[in-house]
Amino acid sequence: MCFAVETRDLRFSPGKGFEISDLNMHVPSGSVYGFLGPNGAGKTTTIRLLLGLLPPSAGSIAVLGEAMPSRHARVMARTGYVPERPHVYPTLTVTEALELHAAFHERWDQAWAGTLLRDFRLPGGRRVGAMSKGETGKLMMLLALAQRPDLLVLDEPTDGLDPVVRRDVLEALLGYVASCNATVLISSHLVHELERICDWIGLMDRGSLIAELPMEQFRGGIKRLAVIDAGEAKEAPFTVLARRPSAAGGEDWLVRGWSSDMRGYFGSHGATLRSVIDLDLEEGFVELLRSFREVA
């Protein structure tokens, strides 16, 4: 497999917050990689390290096959970046901001930029600093897309945007990904949004990447079992992440590695398995996080 982003034993100590240690991240080329994690886990710091905005203390980073931060200029020519906070000069107008960005990016597609301007309904003469949050968000996505990148790094691109703007932004993004096979690294709080668009998931907590796997494995992997008369979970063929008393009587078991032919286990131990429920991404994420924190 070819990786658009690959880190090895990456380490970084920010002034405040969790130290990033032994980060081994792999973003497959052409994938939409969702970067999940609670606030302060280090997602933005990691993204800044990947793009050469921060110097790592140790370890190696390779983006689009080139070492970072040394090959920074070459990599950024092929990478579109939408940071957490708007990074466009607020005193310029939308048109001027586009002209500036176009001058620095050789693959700039003026025709498409014009189409996106129309679709996003952005006024060309408006000063960037005078625009609403939604308009600024759309502008930043426009700039990142119109430069026709091979990699898109999006740090909470839809955070704080209303649903209409979010829809516009995601439509443009996915349309581009579909036609150009670009890789997308997107970090977001909006887990339900990520669920639809990502095929890989990287979970970060307290400076470490605690899990990195394809989306179906993640979703198919963790299930909630409603068990009655459960005894001890001896020699279970699956991993029990947690057991909690259920409001409906019995217990809720959170398990990993379950498959339907394991039902017999309960019968043989005198317990009854009432139901098997799939967890959506948000629930699975919360449970995984909890189980990791309990262990640590």
């Binding site: 020519a77 940071p83 990074h87 000069y89 005193t91 500036l100 620095f104």
Partner: protein, 220 residues
């Protein structure tokens, strides 16, 4: 080659947008100053008095040159500072190239008020009221103005290009200088700290010596 030029022109355009007001204002001012200086000197009897009248305006050139350098340098970096340099650092260009491009853009913009000064000085040189025994030095004045502006620009640019921490250190050093001066005065010492510093900086061949001395359009 044209790729760098395209990038530089785009940066130049942004800096023009941020400073065109002050540049045009300064241009009008420095165009008028030589003309006014000769106008005010007209009608005095001796040549020495004539020179002295024109020279009175000399301080103005020094101040405008210094101010232009200062504000154009600040304007070059203020937007980047506000954004914590994230946009600039995410551009596909090496940092040193970016800094160099910004520097050259600001330097080129200073040519506008310089050209205005040259125009004004040349026109003033042909004024009939100048005594025949005196000569006008419009080019010398203009180049001195440009040089002074560039020196001020370069110094402030270098300070602004640094991180916030560097700027804070420099301001702290300046603050320390004033504190030291106060301490010396309060203990009754006669050591003239500011005088010595001024000597080092302003007297030839000091760093800022271009600003001191006679700025005169008309001389012998």
């Amino acid at each position: 080659m044209s790729r760098w030029l395209r990038m530089w022109r785009a940066l130049l355009k942004t800096q023009w947008t941020w400073t065109r007001g002050m540049l045009l204002g300064a241009a009008v001012l420095v165009f008028a100053m030589p003309l006014l200086s000769v106008r005010t000197a007209a009608g005095v009897d001796t040549e020495v008095a004539f020179i002295r009248m024109v020279q009175r305006w000399g301080v103005g050139y020094a101040i405008v040159a210094g101010a232009l350098g200062l504000f154009v340098a600040i304007a070059a970096w203020s937007s980047d500072h506000r954004l914590k340099h994230i946009y600039a650092l995410s551009l596909p260009i090496a940092r040193w190239r970016y800094v160099l491009m910004r520097f050259l853009a600001g330097a080129v913009l200073l040519l506008l008020p310089m050209a205005a000064l040259l125009a004004g000085a040349v026109v003033a040189s042909h004024n009939a009221s100048i005594p025949a025994t005196l000569r006008a030095y419009p080019f010398a004045l203009t180049f001195r103005f440009l040089f002074a502006a560039l020196v001020a620009y370069a110094i402030v640019f270098a300070v602004s290009a640094g991180t916030e921490r560097t700027a804070r250190y420099i301001l702290a050093m300046i603050g320390l200088f004033f504190v030291a001066q106060l301490v010396l005065i309060s203990v009754g010492s006669h050591f003239d700290l500011s005088g010595h510093v001024a000597d080092v900086l302003f007297a030839r061949p000091g760093l800022l010596s271009v600003f001191s001395g006679r700025w005169s359009l008309i001389d012998v």
